[in-house]
Point group: C4
Chain length 234, copies 4
């Protein structure tokens, strides 16, 4: 079987979405990519999580063609591969309909950075895609969802903003690995929930100052990071 280690990591990333309450029934999906081999491992479509095994995951190439797997891949596969082709630094993608992030997506509002929890993970607001055109919906819909995400990131760096709200749909997240992508999905839901409650307490949302935003982001990311343990301790 191909990519046994990546299969196990992607399985765990999928199960993390379940454990954290981000998915209902068979909703949601996580994938990972092996850049050297140019292969993607993704959850099969509509298989219950309780029964999901590493061997049930589907391996495709970066055009979405199945290379190994007895099941159909997630119907969102074309979105995942579009992201892998355009965001060269990412190694994993996750998609959920987690409830607060989806509420912001349904409202068509980006999530402003209102506090340091957000600043720790997203170096700017969580953006929202524009609507797909009717033509983009009619043909290659799932691929065009990925196209719309990439359009949103034309002037943004996906390494700094590891997720997006697809308008009227829900969040996609990513990261260097499938594990980190799942982690970012969990964080995004928590941010979205706290931002929702904050919005209930003020007339106008005021973003965090850029100095504090930069400070928190750089405490955890980049060469001057000092949060957590040094690499050889973890």
């Amino acid at each position: 079987m191909l990519l046994e280690s990546l299969r196990r990591e992607v399985l765990e990333a999928n199960l993390e979405l379940v454990r954290r309450g981000l998915v209902l029934y068979t909703f949601g999906n996580a994938s990972g990519v092996d850049r050297d081999k140019g292969l993607v491992v993704i959850k099969p479509s509509g298989v219950p999580y309780e029964k999901l095994k590493a061997e049930d995951l589907v391996v495709t190439d970066l055009s979405g063609k199945i290379v190994e797997g007895k099941f159909r891949p997630s119907s969102d596969l074309p979105t995942h591969v579009e992201l892998y082709r355009n965001f060269s630094g990412i190694g994993g993608v996750t998609h959920t309909h987690s409830e607060f992030a989806t509420a912001w997506a349904q409202a068509g509002r980006p999530i402003p950075c209102l506090g340091t929890t957000h600043a720790d993970y997203f170096h700017g607001p969580v953006p929202v895609t524009s609507d797909l055109t009717s033509q983009e919906v009619a043909a290659d819909y799932e691929k065009n969802t990925g196209v719309a995400i990439c359009r949103t990131f034309e002037k943004l760096d996906p390494a700094d903003i590891p997720g997006v709200l697809v308008r009227g749909h829900g969040p996609f997240c990513w990261g260097e690995t499938a594990t980190i992508a799942a982690h970012n999905s969990v964080i995004l839901e928590a941010l979205a929930r706290m931002a929702y409650y904050t919005a209930g307490l003020v007339h106008e949302l005021k973003p965090l100052s850029s100095s504090l935003h930069d400070k928190h982001y750089s405490r955890k990311h980049g060469s001057a990071a000092y949060y957590g343990q040094p690499p050889d301790k973890t």
Copy 2:
């Protein structure tokens, strides 16, 4: 004992409502119908779920007359049989007071389709019944609840919209089987919750475009569906 397999399925559908947090104490009820025999299996009234066994369920005919069972049927039985008599394609009915769907029902507002989660399951807004008249409340109240639901569906197809909000009361859902009806109750609560949060983030709720609504519904329903696994794989 009659209908052992249907009894087991209806028991499981009732327990699914409990597991998913849709019911409190003895609230809620699920039923299933055997169309060939013209018999309905339904939860008994006021029996704790923890003690509920398949043999405790009550079998009635389609007029609501008890055929087998040592307990009284759910007091909502007349609503269930009214739905079975009028919606010929359905095989199961569920009723809960799940909190967000009930809030929309209490507000007397249909739930607009605000996102693809909704579009995956309901091909249009979740409608609200009109108020019953005092006469309809005074006599045959539970049957008249079913009549009010059917009135709401005069121009709607219950196969496309597998649930309704009874004004000032709560949701009823249905499906080809009791299992699917229970599934639809869970989905409806999730939709209702996300729609509630969306309503907190915008001044005016804007429904999803019809092209995207149709796309998502048809990905999962009908001959061109491509979500999940082909029938022989599940």
Copy 3:
């Protein structure tokens, strides 16, 4: 040891408040009364629920004097005995700071009957007490809390409305037994939560029609009740 059976029931009623998420740490208290003996069994003050045993409960008379018990009774005891002295039909009292009922109490708003869940249990809005005067707070505060509740029920029947919101404090519930009082606390919190969400969806809250309110209440209470099983079946 006095009243072993009542002690066990009151212990269970206290634990039900914990199981249903209505209390935090040592918050909350349930009591029961033996009308023949004129004795009350109540939770001790500030003892962790995990360690609570039937023998730790405190027995007092209806003036609040301790008759048996190694611990101090709940500091809310004077409120409980005031209710027992004035509401002759009740056999149990529960008090929590459950979050949504407390929010309505803090807002100083009665909970209108917005749906049939409410109508099933409360034959009218859940009332709010008026503020205590500074004098009532300064001396015999806990007794005066009971006095304020009784004042609120001068024109209401505690058998029809089994609970109240103490303004700026939280809910007290009661019932024929401690078990029923605890049940009513759980229901009140659910009602309060659904009413809160309903209030977020409409500009003005419109109560349920009185015919539907009466119908639901009488389905479950009084001689014509037909919900649940007949007494010999339960």
Copy 4:
């Protein structure tokens, strides 16, 4: 190993934050101080709670210098020691991003005392710090967070108000011990949640009367306290 007993208490305080749902992943931290030895025990930075052992905690002096420990201390250590140096009566500090307290912090609003639950623990509103200046963010940020908290308490007594909202960040709590500090974090989140829901039910928040506020606070604190059991019973 230094301070074994304090290490165990601080470990438990950290785990209490997890059990009560106040922290996500490695967020949050609790510490305790030994005033005689002038030593602080604090959670290490970024170590998963599931693996955390008493021996993993870090011991520092009151300037924040590491005295014993194989891991880096929490990055918030300088805030903790700033509090220990300025609030001489406290023995423990906790910090979380618990969701409702953080929402108030992100909104920049103090939490008014709206009910007796609040009055039982905080003798006044829960205050919010002012924004740090860009200079305070740029250098010694975590220490300056502590400085901002102390500034907020220039005219407040930390024994009466055992917590604060750091603007745009989240809550810090404290108490005579790490156990009490963790308890106060749990209470603060409950207060914040109930205050949020109360704010959704009224146009203008009206604080509890000062007589009732004082009464509840003094029932539980000071020489005339009568809540709970006398010291020799607990």
